[in-house]
C-alpha cells in the first residue's frame, strides 16, 4: 500500500512536467501544423539557460528560472522567424526536415558549448526530503509540481480567456477564415511557437536541477512530448494535461508492477492502443476540415 502511494506521488510530480512539455508541443503541432522535433532541444535549452544564469552568473534560483523561461520564449520566436517563416506554405514534411536539422544543430551546439559532462544545479531547497508517514518527497520536486501546475493554469487561461488565445483557437480551427476576420496569422504563429517553446524551456529549467543537465536530455523529452500529444489529441490543452499524467502513471505503475526494463515502453503501448481505437486522441474535439 505504501509502495502504491509512493508510486502515485511520483506520478503526480512526473506527470505535471510531462503535461508542461505536452502543452507546449500540442500548441505548436495543433495550431501551426509543425512537427516540432526541436521541442526537446528547447527543453534542454531551458535547462542550460538556468545553469548559465543561475550557476555561472550566480543569479537567485527563482529569478534564474524566470529568466530561463523568458529566454526560451525568445529562442522560440527566433526559430519561428528565421526557420519557419520562410517555409510557410511548404508541406509538412519539408518543415519537419527543417526542424530535424534544427534539433541536430542545437544538440551538437550544446555539446560544443557545454561539453559532454553533465551539469548539475544546486537549489535553495533542503536536501532532506519531506516525509509524511512512509511517503517521502523531496522539497524540490514538490516545488516543481506546484510551479508546473501554476504554469498549466496560466496556459489554460491564456488560451481560453485572452484575446490572443481566442485568435490562436480561431487559427487552429480554420486558418483562412481567421485571416479573413482580421487575425494577424504571422503574429499568431510566432506567438504560438514562442509560448510553446517557453513551456518546454520551463519544463527543462524545472527538471534540470531535479536531474542533471546534458546535451542528450532533450531526446527522451521530445519523444514523450509527442506521445502525450497523440494521447491527448491535437491542440487540446486539457488533453495534453491529462495525457501527461496518464503517461506518467503508465510508466510508474508499469515499472513498479510489471517490469522496469520496459518502463518507457509502457507509455508507448498505451499510445498504440489509442491510435488503434481512437486515432484522434482521447480528448480531441472534432476538427473542422477545409
Amino acid at each position: 500500500m505504501t509502495e502504491l502511494l509512493q508510486h502515485i506521488v511520483n506520478t503526480l510530480i512526473l506527470g505535471s512536467t510531462y503535461a508542461l512539455l505536452g502543452i507546449g508541443l500540442t500548441l505548436i503541432f495543433g495550431i501551426m501544423r509543425v512537427v516540432n522535433f526541436a521541442h526537446g532541444e528547447l527543453y534542454s535549452f531551458g535547462a542550460y539557460a538556468l545553469y548559465f544564469v543561475g550557476v555561472m552568473l550566480g543569479l537567485n534560483f527563482f529569478l534564474a528560472l524566470i529568466v530561463a523561461v523568458v529566454l526560451g520564449c525568445f529562442a522560440g520566436a527566433l526559430i519561428e522567424v528565421v526557420l519557419l517563416r520562410p517555409m510557410r506554405g511548404a508541406d509538412i514534411d519539408t518543415t519537419m526536415l527543417v526542424m530535424i536539422g534544427a534539433m541536430i544543430v542545437m544538440q551538437n551546439g550544446e555539446q560544443f558549448v557545454w561539453g559532454g559532462v553533465a551539469k548539475s544545479v544546486s537549489t535553495p531547497f533542503p536536501e532532506l526530503p519531506l516525509v509524511v508517514g512512509s511517503i517521502s518527497v523531496s522539497w524540490l520536486r514538490l516545488f516543481v509540481f506546484c510551479a508546473a501546475l501554476a504554469l498549466i493554469g496560466v496556459s489554460y487561461l491564456l488560451i481560453n480567456r485572452t484575446k490572443l488565445g481566442k485568435a490562436m483557437r480561431a487559427t487552429f480551427q480554420d486558418r483562412d477564415a481567421a485571416a479573413l476576420m482580421g487575425v494577424n496569422i504571422q503574429f499568431i504563429y510566432m506567438a504560438t511557437f514562442a509560448i510553446g517553446s517557453s513551456l518546454a524551456a520551463a519544463a527543462g529549467a524545472l527538471l534540470g536541477p531535479v536531474y542533471v543537465i546534458s546535451p542528450q536530455m532533450g531526446n527522451l523529452a521530445s519523444l514523450k512530448a509527442f506521445a502525450i500529444v497523440i494521447l491527448g489529441g491535437l491542440g487540446s490543452i486539457g488533453g495534453a494535461t491529462i495525457g501527461g499524467f496518464l503517461l506518467a502513471l503508465a510508466e510508474e505503475l508499469g515499472a513498479g508492477y510489471v517490469s522496469s526494463g520496459y518502463r518507457d515502453a509502457m507509455g508507448f503501448l498505451i499510445i498504440i492502443a489509442v491510435l488503434l481505437f481512437k486515432p484522434t486522441g482521447l480528448f480531441a474535439r472534432a476538427e473542422r476540415i477545409g
Binding site: 509502495e3 511520483n10 542533471v212 546534458s214 510508466e251 522496469s260 526494463g261
Partner: protein, 387 residues
C-alpha cells in the same frame, strides 16, 4: 629551361628518396586507432579516456617514440552507438591502415566491433568494457585490461564479509554491462548465502528511476547493488535520497567518477560505496606510484577535471599496453602485435598488465586482472575501505 627544371626536380627527388631510405622509419608514424564515444550519452567518459590516451602518446613520443618512429593516435567518434562503433573500426582498419585499435568503451560498443577484428585480423585492447561475453565468445583479437564483471564479483567476495550484507537488490543499466553485472554479482552472492532480491533495470537514457527505487525501498533488503555510469548514478543517488532510502548502496563497474558524484549529488552521495579499479586519491597504494603521480600531474597540468582521472587512466594504460607490445614486436603489424600482446607484463596504474587466456580453447581472448578497491564517500570525502 624546362630540362633544367626537370633535372633539379629529379635531383631533389633522388635526394628525398635517399633520405627517405635512411630516415624512412622516422618520417612515418606508427598509427594506433582509438574508437571511443565522443558524442552521445557516453561522451563525457569517452572524452576522458581519449585525454588519458593522449597523455600516454605524448609521453612515449617525448621519450623518442617507438622503434625510432613517433606514434600517432587516429581518434574516431563512435557516437555511443554500436552500429557506428563497427563502422569506425572498419574505417580505422581499411582507411587509416592502423595495425591495432583501442576501444570501444561500452560493452555493447565493443561487442559490435569484435566481428570486424576477426574479419581483418587486427587486435584491439579493450580499456573499459566489462561484460563477460567479450572475452568468452572466442575472439582471439581481444585483449582486455578492465575487469569483467565476473572478475569484479569474484574479487568483491573477499570484501563482502566486512559489509555484512544479508539481502541485496540490484538496479542496473539495461545493456550488456548492467545485465551481465547483475548476473555475475548475483551468482557470487548466492554462493555466499546472501539473498538476491529484486533485479531492477533502467534504460540507458532514463532520467527518472523513482519507480524502481520506490519498489526497492519497499523490500526487506539491506543493500542495493547499482551498475551504471556516473551521470545516471548521480540521479540514482539523488532520487534514492529523495525517497528516504537508507539502505547501503554499492556500485560496480568502475565508471563512477566519485569526485564528480560528490560534486553533483552532494550529500546524497554520502554513505555510498563504490568498487573501482584505480585509486588516484591514494597514489601510494597503486601498483606503480611513480607512474600514477606522473599521470595525475600531467592530467592536472592539462587542466582537466580531476573527476575524470578514474576514467581516463584506462586510456593511458591502454595506449601504454599497445606501445609496450609494439616495442617488443619490433614492427607495427597486426599479427606481430597480437603475438607480443600475449607476453605483456608491466605495471599499469591499476595492477600488473598481463593477459590470461579466456574463452573457448584455440581462440582465446586475453584478459588482464586488475586490482579492485572499495571506496566509501563519507562527509563528501573519499575513504578507502577495502581492497
Amino acid at each position: 629551361m624546362r630540362r633544367a627544371h626537370g633535372l633539379i626536380t629529379g635531383a631533389a627527388l633522388a635526394a628525398a628518396m635517399s633520405t627517405a631510405l635512411v630516415t624512412g622509419a622516422a618520417a612515418q608514424t606508427i598509427k594506433i586507432g582509438v574508437n571511443e564515444p565522443l558524442t552521445g550519452p557516453f561522451a563525457a567518459s569517452g572524452t576522458y579516456v581519449v585525454n588519458g590516451a593522449k597523455i600516454a602518446a605524448d609521453e612515449i613520443n617525448a621519450k623518442g617514440g617507438l622503434l625510432g618512429r613517433k606514434i600517432e593516435l587516429v581518434i574516431e567518434d563512435n557516437k555511443s552507438n554500436p552500429t557506428e562503433a563497427a563502422a569506425v573500426a572498419e574505417k580505422l582498419i581499411t582507411g587509416d591502415k592502423v595495425p591495432v585499435i583501442m576501444g570501444a568503451w561500452g560493452s555493447s560498443l565493443t561487442l559490435a566491433v569484435m566481428p570486424k577484428l576477426m574479419e581483418y585480423k587486427v587486435p584491439m585492447v579493450v580499456e573499459t568494457s566489462s561484460s563477460s561475453k567479450i572475452t568468452t565468445s572466442g575472439n582471439s583479437y581481444i585483449f582486455r585490461i578492465s575487469p569483467p564483471s565476473s572478475v569484479e564479483a569474484t574479487e568483491f567476495k573477499s570484501i563482502m564479509p566486512s559489509l555484512g550484507i544479508k539481502k541485496a537488490d540490484f538496479l542496473v543499466i539495461n545493456n550488456d554491462w548492467g545485465r551481465g553485472s547483475a548476473e555475475d554479482f548475483g551468482k557470487v552472492m548466492k554462493a555466499q548465502n546472501i539473498q538476491v532480491g529484486l533485479v531492477e533495470i533502467m534504460d540507458q537514457a532514463a532520467q527518472d528511476m523513482s519507480a524502481q527505487l520506490a519498489k526497492i525501498k519497499a523490500t526487506d533488503s539491506d543493500t542495493i547493488m547499482v551498475t551504471t555510469a556516473v551521470e545516471q548514478l548521480t540521479l540514482v543517488l539523488k532520487q534514492a535520497a529523495a525517497l528516504g532510502i537508507t539502505k547501503r548502496i554499492v556500485t560496480t563497474g568502475g565508471s563512477q567518477n566519485p569526485d564528480q558524484l560528490i560534486e553533483q549529488a552532494g550529500a546524497a552521495a554520502n554513505g555510498s560505496m563504490h568498487l573501482t579499479t584505480f585509486a588516484p586519491w591514494y597514489p601510494d597504494k597503486t601498483p606503480d606510484p611513480a607512474a600514477t603521480k606522473y599521470f595525475l600531474g600531467e592530467w592536472k597540468k592539462r587542466g582537466y577535471a580531476i573527476a575524470g582521472a578514474t576514467e581516463s587512466f584506462r586510456g593511458y594504460d591502454g595506449i601504454r599496453t599497445i606501445a609496450n607490445a609494439i616495442q617488443r614486436a619490433g614492427k607495427a603489424e597486426p599479427a606481430a602485435i597480437t603475438d607480443a600482446l600475449w607476453t605483456t607484463d608491466f605495471a599499469g596504474l591499476n595492477g600488473q598488465i598481463k593477459f590470461q587466456k579466456q574463452g573457448p580453447a584455440g581462440k582465446e581472448s586475453g584478459q588482464s586482472m586488475p586490482n579492485l578497491y572499495l571506496i566509501k564517500i563519507e562527509n563528501e570525502k573519499i575513504v578507502l575501505s577495502g581492497s
